[in-house]
């Protein structure tokens, strides 16, 4: 599965434990221009739930469904 649009930025969070994936993701989105696409790669199991839920709670939208890739997840979020 590939995102329809190439991501403008990638946040590689592999190895980082909670809460840093959520903090980093929200901060990255805040720093980007509206409409730009962020790709998040994370392998902290807690973040599989709290990153997408908090991105949505903070008003961001997903470009596509999260992708499970082995022991990690990929998220595609519009700033």
């Amino acid at each position: 599965m590939q995102a329809n649009k190439e991501a403008d930025f990638t946040l590689d969070l592999r190895g980082e434990s909670c809460p840093y994936p959520v903090i980093y993701t929200l901060e990255a989105l805040q720093g980007m221009k509206k409409g730009e696409l962020l790709q998040v790669i994370t392998d902290c199991p807690g973040s599989f739930r709290n990153v997408p839920e908090e991105a949505i709670a903070h008003g961001y939208t997903f470009a596509q469904e999260p992708v499970k890739n082995g022991q990690e997840y990929l998220f595609y979020i519009y700033a």
């Binding site: 995102a3 190439e6 991501a7 403008d8 930025f9 990638t10 946040l11 590689d12 969070l13 592999r14 190895g15 980082e16 434990s17 909670c18 809460p19 840093y20 959520v22 903090i23 980093y24 929200l26 901060e27 990255a28 790709q39 790669i41 392998d43 902290c44 199991p45 807690g46 599989f48 739930r49 709290n50 839920e53 908090e54 709670a57 903070h58 008003g59 992708v67 890739n69 082995g70 022991q71 990690e72 990929l74």
Partner: protein, 398 residues
């Protein structure tokens, strides 16, 4: 069948369901054994075991006399709760094929985890319980010390969350321009088979305990396993309950924990009255307040408490090795400081064991407990709303 397997192993379970079951199981465990689901007491004993291996005589330390340092960890039901939790979590991690060595990119996390672990271990034992015995299983025992501990943990977590927000603490993430490739996925899957082997071996241990009449060890091992399975699959994080409310206005874990405690309180009251048991009450004193604040600060610094640390370590999150070591060092240092540095005389002696059942009777105890939990729930909702209102306002300005 395939759909069911998918739900059990590929998804994380709903925290409300998990904490309701955990709350009910801990009440049941109390009914069967008259002890509660707890971990840090055993961590302290492990520290004592290690000291004795090194030739230090801890037999006359008051703290070890109080928490009864006897036998080895595998001959103590509390020990089996701890090992059962580790093994239950590992089993589920493997069965769901989610084990991976995860090394933090930010090297500072190891130091943060170690220091935070020490502070959390020290604080938890100063208060005579961590987020289990002085929180999740303490409230249902109607022990007033857990009420103080909850407030104190909230205060400590608040400052921890402030610290987490500072740049020198959190560090800069690797934000790259453009898209990046994810890791290659291995085609061969061996983890579920290892998980099944562990499950079968552990079933053998359980059968051995019950067949040889070692009922308390068997129950410890059984309930420990169940708690380990539950916290891993539910990704239950007591640290996140407070911290994420302060950090990003996230309320899910806090609400689920409150609901679980409410259910556990009701069932524990039933168990206590049917079997005429004495609830487990700990001293409420200045030490409870101080210990709670330290604990709250420490768990946020370490990114996990003594319970959450266990399943994350089993997932392969290497950060939690120094946290585990720190927890044991902190708890053991507290055991030393208890009498040798006069902590007991200064902070604990003037306290009192207060149980709401004795003070208010059963109706008063359950009503006040449920009221307290309802207030906590309302505060959680208020904080979440408030956070999002401020966030929207700031966004509007930008």
């Amino acid at each position: 069948m395939k759909a069911m397997l998918h739900t059990i192993f590929q998804r994380h379970w709903n925290p409300y369901v998990v904490l309701l079951i955990a709350g009910l199981l801990s009440a049941l465990y109390f009914g069967l054994t008259s002890t509660v689901w707890a971990v840090t007491g055993e961590f302290t004993r492990l520290g004592g075991d290690i000291l004795q291996l090194l030739g230090v005589d801890v037999a006359d330390w008051q703290y070890y006399q109080m928490i009864k340092l006897q036998g080895a960890t595998w001959s103590r039901p509390d020990g089996w709760i701890v090992w059962g939790m580790f093994i239950g979590a590992l089993m589920m991690v493997l069965l769901s094929n989610s084990f991976k060595i995860r090394l933090p990119q930010q090297k500072r996390r190891y130091v943060q985890g170690f220091v935070g672990g020490i502070i959390a271990g020290f604080g938890a034992r100063l208060a005579l319980g961590c987020n289990l015995a002085a929180f999740f299983t303490g409230v249902p025992q109607f022990s007033l010390h857990s009420w103080i501990f909850i407030v104190a943990t909230g205060i400590g977590t608040f400052f921890g969350a402030k610290l987490t927000r500072t740049l020198w603490w959190k560090g800069r993430p690797s934000l790259l321009r453009g898209a990046a490739q994810p890791s290659k996925v291995k085609a061969r899957m061996i983890q579920p088979y290892l998980g099944a082997v562990i499950a079968i071996a552990y079933a053998g241990v359980l059968i051995y305990f019950f067949a040889t009449g070692q009922k308390l060890l068997g129950l410890g091992a059984l309930f420990g396993l169940a708690f380990g399975v539950l916290i891993e699959r539910g990704q239950i994080c007591f640290t996140a309950a407070f911290r994420d409310l302060f950090l990003v206005g996230r309320s899910l874990m806090a609400k689920a924990i409150i609901v679980g405690m409410a259910a556990s309180s009701v069932l524990t009251l039933v168990v206590i009255s049917i079997y005429d048991l004495t609830p487990v009450t700990q001293i409420a004193a200045l030490s409870t307040l101080l210990g709670g604040v330290l604990f709250g600060l420490g768990i946020v610094m370490a990114s996990g408490c003594e319970t959450g640390m266990m399943y994350r370590l089993m997932e392969g999150q290497v950060l939690f090795l120094p946290v585990f070591a720190g927890n044991i060092i902190g708890a053991t240092f507290l055991a030393y400081a208890w009498d040798h540095l006069g902590l007991y005389d200064a902070l604990v002696k003037h306290g009192e064991k207060i149980n709401l059942l004795d003070a208010l009777g059963p109706v008063g105890a359950i009503l006040s407990t449920l009221t307290m939990l309802a207030v906590l729930y309302a505060l959680t909702l208020y904080r979440e709303k408030n956070y999002h209102r401020n966030f929207e306002l700031n966004r509007g300005v930008k």
